[in-house]
Symmetry: C2
Subunit: 416 residues, 2 copies
Amino acid sequence: MRQLLEIAEDARRAKYTVAKLGTNDKNRALLAIADALEARADEIIAANAADIENGRAAGLNDGLIDRLMLDKKRIAGIAEGCRQVAALPDPVGEVLWMRKRPNGLNIGQKRVPMGVIGIIYEARPNVTVDAAALCFKAGSACILRGGKEAFRSSMCLTKIMREALASCGLPENAINLVEDTSRETATQMMKLNGYLDVLIPRGGAGLIRSVVMNATVPVIETGTGNCHIYVDASADLEMAKNILVNAKCQRPSVCNAAESLLVHRDVAAKFLPMAAEGLAGDHVTIHGCARTTEILGDAILPATDEDYGREYLGYEISCKVVDSLDEAIDHINRFNTGHSECIVTRDYDASQRFLEEVDAAAVYVNASTRFTDGFEFGFGAEIGISTQKLHARGPMGLNALTTTKYIIYGNGQVRS
Amino acid sequence: MRQLLEIAEDARRAKYTVAKLGTNDKNRALLAIADALEARADEIIAANAADIENGRAAGLNDGLIDRLMLDKKRIAGIAEGCRQVAALPDPVGEVLWMRKRPNGLNIGQKRVPMGVIGIIYEARPNVTVDAAALCFKAGSACILRGGKEAFRSSMCLTKIMREALASCGLPENAINLVEDTSRETATQMMKLNGYLDVLIPRGGAGLIRSVVMNATVPVIETGTGNCHIYVDASADLEMAKNILVNAKCQRPSVCNAAESLLVHRDVAAKFLPMAAEGLAGDHVTIHGCARTTEILGDAILPATDEDYGREYLGYEISCKVVDSLDEAIDHINRFNTGHSECIVTRDYDASQRFLEEVDAAAVYVNASTRFTDGFEFGFGAEIGISTQKLHARGPMGLNALTTTKYIIYGNGQVRS
C-alpha cells in the first residue's frame, strides 16, 4: 500500500510533466483510458461485485447500492465521459490579456495548470474516472479519495487509468487514489500544504463541512443548495407553476432542485392552489407558513425557521407568503446557501432588483433553477458547483481547475 | 467595546447596502474620508503618540516604531491614497460574458461584490485606511484586525472613516475594526464562517502561516517571496548585473526583492565577479555553493539548503552555479515560494521554457522581479500579492476583491 505522503510526493513530481503535455498527448491518453475501461469491464465488474457484497453486508440502503453499482452499460457511460473530456477545448495556455506598460514591459496573464488537485468524494466509483479525466485535461495531477464502500471499484478503475497512461508513455502518477481509507488519512489529506494546490469535496453536506472545517489547504466549497422560487405579484402564474414543479420534482435529490417557494401575497390565494395541485402529482409535502395554511387548509404542515433552512433533497418543500419583493429578497439572503434562486415575474424593476440583490451563484428570471449545471451552462463538463465566492462560483468546468500566472517580457527594465 | 460577533453581524447587515451603492456614492464617501483624515490629523497624531509611547516602553525596535509612526505628511499620503482609490474604475457590475444557449436562456457572468472581507495585518496604521478604502470601492464591508501596537491609531482612523460614511448618509458598519486585540479573538475571526466571505492576511510569514493553518473561512495567502534571478549561458551580462543589483538592493525588505542568484556554469567565471562587484556597493553578503566560492574566494559564506529556502529580506543573497537551464528550473521549483522569478537570456528557447515551466505568480524575461506590484502592473492599487493559486495569483487589485455571479434571463424554460 502506498502511504499518503508517498502518493503526495509522486503526484508533485508528476505534475511538472503533466503541465507540459500538449493537447494531443492529453487527448490520446484520455481516449486510451476510455478504451481500456471498456476492454477491461469484466475486471471492473468483479471488483465492484466485492464492494456491493460488502455494502449489502454492511446494510447500505438500495439507493447507496445503486450509486455504487457498475455494469457494462455504466462502464460504457464512464468511458464515453472520458471521450467527451478529450473532445473539450484545452483550457491551458490561453493568454487572457497582455498589455504594454509605459516602461516597455509586456505583461500578460496566462491560464496555466493548477498543479496537484485533491478530490474527496463519496462511494460513487464513476467520480473516480470523471474527476481524474477533468484534472488531467486541465494539466494537473490529482489525488482522489473516494468513499471506502467503493474502494475496490475505485482502485480497479485507477489501476486501469494508470496503466493506460503508462502505455502512452506518460507518468502514471498523474492519477492517484488514496489507498488507506481511514478517516485519519482523509484528515491528513486536508492538511497537505505544499503538495495540494486545491482540495474539492464532492458529496453531501457532512462531507463538505468536514473538509471546510479541517482543511488547511485551499478548498472550493461545493454543493448544498437551498434554492428558492419566488412568485412575484406580476408573475405569469402558469409559467410559475411549470417552473416550480420542474425545479422541485424533475430530480429532487440534486443540489439545484428547489427547496422553498415564496409567493407574493397579492397572488397567493390564486397561485397556491395551482402550486399545490402541480406538486400533488409527485405527492410533495408542503411545509407552509400560517397564511399558506389559511389558503391551502390542513393538509399543509406548519413551517418553522428550520424548514426554511432545510435542503430536503426529496419530495418536500417549504412555502411562505411574503408581503413584498423586499421581504422575498431578505428571506432568501437569510436562508439560502448561495446556490440558485429564481424570480417569476413580468415586472421589469422586480427582475432587475432580484438579479442585483439576491446573493447567490446563479440568479434566474423566469427559468427553472435546475439549469445550474456545467453542461447546461455550456462548459461541456462539470467538476462540481461552487457555493463559495473565491476562485469559482457556480458550475465549475475545466477553467475552474486552472490558475493563471503573469508572464512578463522585458528588455532589461529595472525599477527606479 | 463591540464584541467580534456583534461586529460580524453589523458587517453582514451593512454589506447589502454597500453592495448596492452606485459608483458616485462610493467615490463621494472616499473623498469625504480623505478630507476628514486631513482635517482631523491632530486627533490621529495624538492617538498615534500614545501607541508610539507604549511601543517604546515595550521595546519595539526603530524599524517597527517607524512603521507605526504617523505625522501630517504621512496622513496626507494616506488621504491621497483614498482619493486615488476613488479615481479608479468601479469593478462592480461588469458582465464578463453573456451567451444565448440553444434553449433560449441568456446566461451571463457578472462581477459582483464579495460581501464581507476580513483583513488581518500588523502594526501599520496606514493599512487600516488603505484596506478599508479598497474593500469599500469593491462594494464590500470589511472587518479589519490590525496589530495591537497600532490599536489606538487604527481605532482613531476607523472612527473618522465611520463618521465620514455616516456624514454621507451611508452605513458606518461598512468599515469595522476588531476592538478586542487578543490572540483568541484573532483566531475566532479566522473561523467566522457564514460571516466572512474571504480573509486576507497581510504581513510577515508567521502571521500568514497562522492564518493559513487556523482559518476555516476562505483565505488568500499572500506575501513571502523567495525570488530568483537566473543568469543563462546566453545572457547579456551587463543587463544581468543591472537586474540582479536592482532586484536585490533597490528595496531588500519587500517580497518581490531577489533572494537567490543562479548562474549557468558557462558564464559563472565571468559573471560572478561582476555580480559580486555590483552587490558590494550595498555590502550584500553572498552565501554561495562550492563553485561560487571557487570563483569568488573566501569572502563567500557557504550556502546550505536552508539558505536556498530563505527569504532574507535584507542585504544577503544565496548563489548557486548550475549546469543547465533544467537544473535552474528544477532548483527554482523546489525552493521558491511561487512569487516572482526571472531569467536573463538572449536565447529564445530558454526564455520560452522558463516562462512555461517555472511555477510562480510572475515569471520574467530580462526584467527585475521588483515590478511584481499592483501599481506597476497597471491595476492602480494593491491589497497584497497572492502566492496561492486559488482566486487570485500575483498582485491583487480591486478585481481580486470581487466575485462573480451568473445571471440568467429566461422566458419560462424548464429542464427536460
